[in-house]
Symmetry: C2
Subunit: 196 residues, 2 copies
Amino acid sequence: MSTAGRSGRRPGEPDTRGEVLNAARRMFARHGYNGASIRAIAAEADVDPALIHHYFGTKRDLFRAAATFPLDVDQLLAAAHGHDREQRAAALARFFFSMWEQEATRLPLLSVLRSAMTDEEAAALLRTSVVTGFLGPVAEALGIDDAEARLELCAAQLIGIAMLRYVIQIEPLASLPVDRLLDRVTPVLEHHLFAD
Amino acid sequence: MSTAGRSGRRPGEPDTRGEVLNAARRMFARHGYNGASIRAIAAEADVDPALIHHYFGTKRDLFRAAATFPLDVDQLLAAAHGHDREQRAAALARFFFSMWEQEATRLPLLSVLRSAMTDEEAAALLRTSVVTGFLGPVAEALGIDDAEARLELCAAQLIGIAMLRYVIQIEPLASLPVDRLLDRVTPVLEHHLFAD
């Protein structure tokens, strides 16, 4: 979840590397790591498979690049530093859903979530990104002792919603406006984070 | 989620069909639908692949049998009919975790959850089992109008915990005693089910 390297291309030059990366994200997001072959990604990007290896190395390297995206940690920490408990909980929920509601971040997130169920490295990536990239900074900013799994229970509520809303697409949850979702979820995060 | 057919075998006769089914559950639970081949399941059960086809038909038929388990709907409905709101929420949470904490039900549940991320039929099975098998009866028993996705949000909290605790195994959540988990989760279910 850090910024992907710049391609260094000049204006007007076709961004083949970027197109391959986008094709890989769409395919990993749709089929997971094991279900998306280099051949299928090459067909999706309309390039030769050899070009993918040239730009990204192995399929594993390509997956790592596809699952990497800029995470605005400053915004996350600003959320954790909100004025009162309810505001902090609401800001965390808003931060989470703003990532899922934008395609640029939803595709990498879907890639990891789908793949983590059946691929041990993707599971490790999810574990690390949830624990180190998301829960760690939040716990520190909130000054929370996580002996009671408070942050994991928040993450469970949010990831569970992501699964049912964006992956499995159960109604009415899949169509609920984000604002209504935030109203429903904020008190839950507040409970998990702060209740005795 | 209905009772699997009886094998009709006599006492002392080896239950080969049952052993194949258990091997399939272990393999689907570990690798998901696409990751578990008939060949690997046959090796796990120490039988010839042809025997699997003889007993169960196609891999898809075998998966359906492996993902099927007795769901005690009466117990679920009794939970939904508890005396007060907190008791009903607590009983629902207990019912959910009692399924996950027993291997006989955890393996079919894991099989479906892992496979649903990358296999459309498994996703449909999860959608149906969550909506028709679990949420439907509970909504009816509770007399809940689900316009606000109340039950889906409960299911999201529970499934999210199942993912992080049993699949991804994030600590400390993976090791939290069930009783502590129930203490943390019951108020959340009560909020989702009943709060204005």
